[in-house]
Symmetry: C2
Subunit: 150 residues, 2 copies
């Protein structure tokens, strides 16, 4: 049991470093599409989850309500999203991705998949099998925190 705990702590340390390395690398490549990190994440959210309220988007993205209003302004100005009125509540503004916005999300995602695929190709067959074998566990890991805000 002592041994198991020790190896688990070491695993957390190693996994953290792997994540830190990947995050650092992605941070530089993220600006490519001309979208800020929050803009890209919000657009992805709209593209996948449909129209959503400004207040909810602000909370989900961890920014202030005015910041989300201004991000909405920019997305609308660039033709990536539109504002819609809510049928239920006259105070509510729903933000919705346009076709151009969804296309932008797709393009960014496709580019990322290509880069990740290239990395997988660079691994040996046995390493690739290890990664693929661990995918279900990693998907669970990612989902564990996602439930907090999604």
């Amino acid at each position: 049991m002592e041994k198991a705990e020790a190896s688990e702590g070491d695993a957390a340390e190693r996994l953290t470093r792997v994540i830190e390395s990947i995050v650092r690398q992605l941070r530089q490549a993220a600006a490519e599409g001309g979208l800020s990190p929050t803009a890209a994440s919000t657009l992805l959210r709209l593209s996948e989850g449909g129209p959503q309220r400004v207040t909810d988007l602000a909370r989900l993205e961890g920014v202030s309500q005015p910041a989300m209003t201004q991000l909405a302004d920019r997305l609308v100005k660039e033709g990536l999203a539109v504002r819609r009125a809510s049928e239920d509540d006259g105070r509510v503004v729903l933000l919705d991705a346009t076709a151009a916005g969804a296309a932008t999300v797709d393009a960014r995602h496709t580019a990322r998949v290509g880069r990740v695929g290239a990395l997988l190709d660079a691994l040996s067959a046995s390493e690739r099998e290890q990664v693929i074998g661990a995918l279900p566990a990693f998907e669970r890991l990612a989902a564990l925190r996602a439930h907090r805000d999604c």
Copy 2:
């Protein structure tokens, strides 16, 4: 072979989504220490790699030289780094982490390891084994791109 390619493409797609999810979650937690992403990454670089030139740091972090000069100003102002002269070249300024800067890096890293450890704890024993088993492959994956700038 067709089957292998198909499963590899699927793996790239799934791994990309896992990474996107984790990145999105970390992005919100990143501001905790009061450091910008570039500031945190630069400080980590100094803490691990020792004193480095402004020009090199700018290139490694993917920002302009003036941006790195100004980041150096902020780090120095906050007592996290100091400017040193180069013995070889009078034009060069070396940036070096202070003890306080190194302590900040450690604190941030420790907090992250704690969060990742909590995620690992939430997995089943078999899932955890899968993740741990795939760690060497993931470390290789992370190193594949790291060589570009480190």
